[in-house]
Amino acid sequence: MEFLQSIDWMQLLRCFVVGGLICIFGQILIDKTKLTPARILVVFVTLGVVLGGLGIYKYIIDFAGCGATVPLTGFGANLAKGAIEEVQNSGLLGAFVGGVKASAGGIAAAVFFGYLASLISKPKMKKQ
């Protein structure tokens, strides 16, 4: 209960709205362009890297919290942030190491859960 009282509801609303708007941008790309989903994914991540690298994305994160970090642009910004920090710590090699290091938890989770799901479930026909 104490936890519920400690939630910043305005932050949650900002998160909802910004996350939704980023998804609307993706939806417009799906409906209005001939870009395949894989290409749109690349656009999002690259955009996140560029905005993160230029230091712009952190303002969006400060404003919207998870509304900015959960979408793929957040992943890109995280890669950029990780790369920049690692370069500051360990020099040029950090550019290669840092990005993956920052997102290592998520990547490992993807590999682990994906493998688990494929062991447990069978491929199924989709209904529509």
Partner: protein, 109 residues
């Protein structure tokens, strides 16, 4: 009637006129609230982690791991594709995409 098949360019214009468009407003509306909802769930998990005393970076990692786990679980239950059809671009959330592609690679094998 002018010949629509005269050149590839005239034919492409003719086909664009003939082909029905996706219901973009309905799609954007669904993408908005489903995407927003997923981000909000992430935010609540993040706040909970911070409440428990985790640092920001670790909290973010926990959010990613939990959301990916849910995505893999729903994919395994064959529910994920129904959500995707309903709210297309909510896909552009997080590592969902990454996770799904990995799941599929495993399925293909």
């Amino acid at each position: 009637m002018t010949n629509p098949i005269e050149t590839p360019s005239t034919y492409n214009k003719y086909v664009d006129k003939k082909s029905p468009n996706s219901p973009i407003f309905k799609n954007c509306f669904n993408a908005f609230w489903v995407g927003g909802l997923i981000c909000s769930i992430g935010q609540i998990i993040f706040d909970f982690c911070k409440y428990q005393g985790l640092e920001t970076a670790s909290a973010n990692t926990v959010v990613s791991i939990v959301l990916i786990g849910i995505a893999a679980f729903l994919t395994g239950l064959n529910i994920f594709n129904k959500i995707g059809k309903f709210a297309g671009a909510r896909f552009f959330n997080s590592y969902y995409r990454f996770c799904e592609f990995y799941c599929f690679t495993c399925y293909r094998v």
